[in-house]
Symmetry: D2
Subunit: 327 residues, 4 copies
C-alpha cells in the first residue's frame, strides 16, 4: 500500500508534463512517421530539429525531434505555474545535492535543467512561446488527429522511491500495481498533477529509461484509423501492441514505435481525478487484466525496451521482474 | 397503397444507379468543394471536366463535373448487367416512343441515352473503365471519407406514374409516403435495384428535376467531421439541412449544396432489402418524423429547389404541394 | 475586455462543480427521463428523492431529484479541497454580508449553504459519500452513457460582476463573449477550476437563474444514440437544440429539457486548460458561430427559459438582451 | 486462378444466407451469451429452443439455439426468391443424386432440406414468418447492437470443388486466396448473392465444418463496446481473435466463441459488389495481411476448430494445411 499522503502544498507548483525531446537519426524518416502518418502538426523545422504539437495545444511544441547519431530522449519537460516556481525548484533540487542549470532552450523562457534523485533528467520552465490553437482548424486534421501530449511513462529501478519523490512534489497517485506479498511492494504507479489519470507513471525495471509518451485522441475511431493507415503505408511492424484496453486508467490504446524505436502511445478514455478524496485504485501484479482488460498480451519488447536518457546510468530494479507476457 | 407487384422479370437488367454529370460554372470552385472539402477522389481532370469517385468505387467515376455557363444535371447514369441489356432497353424505350441514341461517352462502353415517359433523362451502359479500389488506401482518406454513390432523388410531377414506370423496370419499393385520403395518393417513393433502401427516389413536386444525389459514408462521425470542416472553411451556408435522421430509410444525413446549388446528401445507416417478401414501409404524409425522426425541420429551399435537366420541360405536380416546413 | 487577472491564491480552494438538486413534480416521470432514457445510474432512491450519477463518478451523486409541487433548482453544489476550506469560505461569505448556514445534507459531510453577491445559491462541502466507479462496468452502460457532470451555466443580470466574484474565488476565464462597443461589455463568460473549459458559465439575462447543467459523454456517437432513443420513445419535443457544435468551448452538444423543463446539455469535445498562460479566447457578440459553429440556430426558448432558484429575486440584466435567434 | 465465369442464370434463385441452427448444451448459458451479452433480440423462446435476430431483421430469426446433449450446427439456411425456386432446387439436387426432403420447420414455409456435393447440409425456403423491424426501436439496442446476419464461413476439403458448385448456383466470387505455385490452387473463396463481399466463404481444411457465422454491426465502436462488456462480465476467454482488420473483405472484426465453442464474427466495413464487371481480388497465401491487415495473428484454435454438422463425414483437405499463425 502506498505509504504517503498527498502533499497539497509542494515546494513548487508543477502544472503538467508538457514535452519531450527525442534524438533521431533520420529527420526525414521521423517526419514521415510523426507528421505524415500520425498527423502531428509542424510548428517549426530547422536543418537539425522538428517541433511538433497536437491540434489543441497552444504551447509551441510537445515533441521535439533532434538530429542525432544515436537515439535518445533528452529529458522530460514539465511546465511550472510561474517564474518563482523555477527558483523554488532550483533551491529544492540543489538542496538535495542534485544538478541544476539554466540552459538556453529555444521557444522557452527560463529553463531549469535538473534530475530527480534517481537520475531522471527534468526540464522545468514556466513560459513557452504560444502557438495558434488548431482545434477548430478541422480541415488540417490528419492521421490520428492527435490533440495533445498527456503523459510520460518511465522504467525506474525503485518504484517506491520514485513514488515518494513525486508525491513530495505534489503528484497524486491515481492507480498502482503492487505485489501480493504479506508486505506488498509497489510495482508501478500512475501519478498526476493536471487532473486526469497521469502526467507521469513509473514501472519497475531497468532505469531510469523512458517507456513511452502518451498522446491523447478524442475517440477510439481516430486510433483505428491510424491502424489502417500504418498497416497500408509500410508501418505494420511499427505497431507494437494493441489496439486494446488497459484495466489501469481505462485507456483504449495503441503503442507504436517510431523509426528510432521511441515508443508512442495513442490513447483515449481515461477519467477526471481532481477530487482530493479520490482513492487510488489498487491492482494486483497477478491480475493480467490490469494491463490488458482485453486485447492481445503485450510482446516481450514492450516489457524490455525503452529510450535511454543520454549519460544517465541505468540500474537494475530492486524487485525481480516478472512480466506476464502470455495470456 | 402502391398497386403494382414487383416485376421479377423486367425487360432488361438495371444493376444500380452509378453516376451523374453536373454542369458547373467554375471548375476550380467545384474542385475546392468536392475534392478539398468533401474529400472525393479525382480520377481524371481535363480543362473542361473533373471525374470523381469515392474510396470503394472501381467504376471510373460516380460524379462528373462539366464546365458550363449554367448549372444543370445532364442525366442519371445507370449500370445494366450486360451489353444485351442495352439492346433490350433501347427496344423497350423506342417502343414507348421515347428518344434513344448511342452517343460516345468518355470512359464508358456503349451508352444508351434515353428518357423515361415523364422526361427524366437516363444514360444506360454496361461497362465503364475500372479504377483502383482505394478502400485500403487509408492514407488517402480525406473529408467525409465518402465511399460511394448510393442513390438519386428526383422531383416528379406524378409520383404514381414514376413509381409504375420503375416498377415495370424491376425496381422494388422499400418505403413510401402517401396521403391519408380515403383514396390515398402516393406522395413519395423509395425504390431499389441493388439491395438497400434505394437507387432512385421520387417526391411529388415540379419536375422532373433532381433533388439530390446521396453519397454513402461508413459512420456518422465522418459526417460530423465534414460539418466541422465546412463550418470552418467558408462553407457554412452550403450546409442546407442536418445533420439529423430521417424516419424513412433510417438515414443519418447531412444535405450540402455545391457552389452551383446542386444538392449532395452525405448519409449512412440504411439497411438490407434483398428479401423478396420485404414489405414496403408506409408513412403518412402527415407524420413529420418520416422526414425528420429528429433534427431541425428542413428549410423551404429543401422543398423547393432542385437541379434542372437541360432542355427538359418541368411540369407542376398533380398533387397540391404541402410540405411541412415547421416542426 | 476582462479586467481582472487570475487569482492564484483564492481565500479557499474550490475543486470543481459537483452536483445540483432539482425540484420535480413527478418522480416517476423524471426517473423515466433521467434513468431509462439518458441512462444515468441510480445511487439511491427514496419516496421523495432520487440520487443519480454518471458511470465514472465516485461521488455519491451529481444530480438529485426532489419531489416538489413546483420545479426549482435548489443550489449549485461545489466541492472544496478540505474541511478547513469550508471554514475559510464561511468567513469569506459572512464578511461580505452574505447568508451562511451549515444544514444537514444527506450523503454529504459538513455543508456550507450560502449565496454569491448576486444571490446565486451555493452549497460547498468537502466530503461526499463515495460510490463505486462504474467506468468498467460496461454491461451497465445505457442511453447516452453519461460519464460525469461537467459544468453549470447560469443567467446573471451582471456578467461583469459575476465574473469578478468568481475570479476572486480562483476561477479562471477560458472563453468570453463581449460587445463590439468602443468600451466593450462582457456578455458571457466560461470559467473553470478543474482544468477544462468550465465549471461555471454566466450569460447576460434575467437572473440569477440556471440555464443548464452540462453532462459529459465520451464520444459524439453517444449523443447521436440518445437522439435516436428520445425521438422514438416520446421525447422528441424534449430535444430543444442540437445536435450541433459550439464555437465557444468546441463542444459537440445536445440540449434536452426534462419533464419539468430543467435543461440538460449532453456534450463532448472540449479541451485541457491547466496552463496558467492560457489566454482566454474572445468572441464577438455579433459572431453567430460562437454559439453555433454549425447546426441550427437555437430556438427562442433556449435564450429565454431557465430554472428558478427558490426564493431568489430575479433581476433584469444590465445589458439589453439581443440574442441571435435566426441564422 | 478461378476457372469459371459467373453464372448469371442459375437453375434457381438463392437470395442470401439467412440463418443457422446451433445445438447448445445449456440454453440459459447460451441466452446469457447471445442475448444479455451480444445483445441479440429474442423472437421466441420455448423449453427447448431460442429464436434470435438482429435489430434490422424482419425474418423471424437468423440464429436458432436448440437444446442438445452435444454441440452441432444443423444446416445453413438460405432464402430463395419464390416457391417455384424450391421445386427447381429439389430437382437440381435430386438430379445430382443428393438427398432431398421437405421437413416441417417452425416459422418457415415449405423447406427443402438437402446437402451440397461435399456433404454440407443446406435448408432452402422462400417464406419465413416476418417480425417487426426494430431498427428504429433504439431504446432496445443492447450489447453490440447487431443488425443482421451477414455470412457463413466453412471449412471444406476441396475449395475448388466448393467454389465450382456455388458458382454454378449463381454465387459470385469477390475475393480469393490461392497458392503461388506455377499451377496455383484455390485456398479460400468469398462468394456472394446479396451484393456485398459474401454470403458464403470456404477455406481449405477438414470439412465440411462451419468455421463461423458473421453478424454485422453498424460501426466499429459497437464492436469495441462488446469487447469492454465481455472482458468485464466473465467472457474474456470467449474472445478468440481481434479486434483487427482483415485484408480480405476489409472487415473490422472480432471473433468470439459461444459457450459451446460455436464461433461468431462481429464485423463491419465491407463493400458493395453488385457490379457484374467487379473483378475478384486475388490474395497470395503467403501474404499475411490478407488475414490480418493489422492486429494480432490468429491463434491456433482459429485455424483448427469448427462446428460439426450432425452425421456428416469430415474429410481431410486435398491441400496440405499451412496456416500462418505467427506474424
Amino acid at each position: 500500500m502506498p505509504a504517503r499522503k498527498p502533499n497539497l502544498n509542494p515546494a513548487f507548483n508543477i502544472v503538467r508534463v508538457s514535452h519531450v525531446a527525442f534524438g533521431v537519426r533520420d529527420l526525414a524518416a521521423s517526419r514521415a512517421f510523426y507528421v505524415d502518418t500520425l498527423g502531428l502538426v509542424v510548428c517549426d523545422e530547422t536543418a537539425d530539429a522538428l517541433y511538433l504539437r497536437g491540434v489543441e495545444e497552444r504551447n509551441h511544441h510537445s515533441i521535439v525531434l533532434e538530429r542525432s547519431p544515436e537515439p535518445y530522449v533528452r529529458s522530460l519537460g514539465f511546465k511550472v505555474a510561474g517564474e518563482e516556481d523555477l527558483d523554488r525548484a532550483a533551491f529544492w533540487f540543489a538542496r538535495k545535492g542534485l544538478p541544476t542549470s539554466f540552459p538556453e532552450v529555444p521557444y522557452q523562457g527560463r529553463t531549469l535543467r535538473t534530475a530527480d534523485p534517481l537520475g531522471l533528467p527534468l526540464d522545468l520552465y514556466a513560459r513557452m512561446d504560444q502557438a495558434e490553437c488548431l482545434l477548430q482548424r478541422y480541415a488540417a486534421y490528419r492521421g490520428a488527429r492527435i490533440q495533445r501530449i498527456d503523459h510520460v511513462n518511465c522504467f525506474t529501478p525503485d518504484v517506491q522511491q520514485s513514488h515518494d519523490v513525486y508525491t513530495e512534489l505534489g503528484f497524486r497517485l491515481t492507480e498502482y500495481t503492487e505485489t501480493d506479498d504479506p508486505d506488498p511492494a509497489l510495482w508501478a504507479v500512475w501519478m498526476h498533477r493536471k487532473g486526469n489519470v497521469h502526467d507521469l507513471a513509473f514501472t519497475n525495471g531497468r532505469g531510469p529509461r523512458l517507456h513511452h509518451i502518451g498522446m491523447w485522441t478524442a475517440t477510439p475511431l481516430d486510433i483505428l484509423h491510424v491502424c489502417d493507415v500504418m498497416a497500408t503505408t509500410g508501418y505494420l511492424t511499427n505497431m507494437e501492441r494493441g489496439p486494446g484496453r488497459h484495466g489501469i486508467s481505462n485507456a483504449f490504446f495503441l503503442y507504436v514505435r517510431d523509426p528510432d524505436g521511441h515508443r508512442i502511445e495513442l490513447f483515449t478514455s481515461d477519467y477526471l481525478t481532481v477530487d482530493p478524496d479520490l482513492e487510488p485504485i489498487r491492482w494486483s501484479l497477478r491480475d493480467p487484466q490490469r494491463q490488458t482488460l482485453w486485447g492481445h498480451p503485450a510482446p516481450k519488447s514492450w516489457f524490455e525496451e525503452g529510450s535511454l536518457f543520454p549519460g544517465i546510468v541505468v540500474r537494475e530494479p530492486a524487485l525481480a521482474a516478472q512480466p506476464i507476457v502470455a495470456r
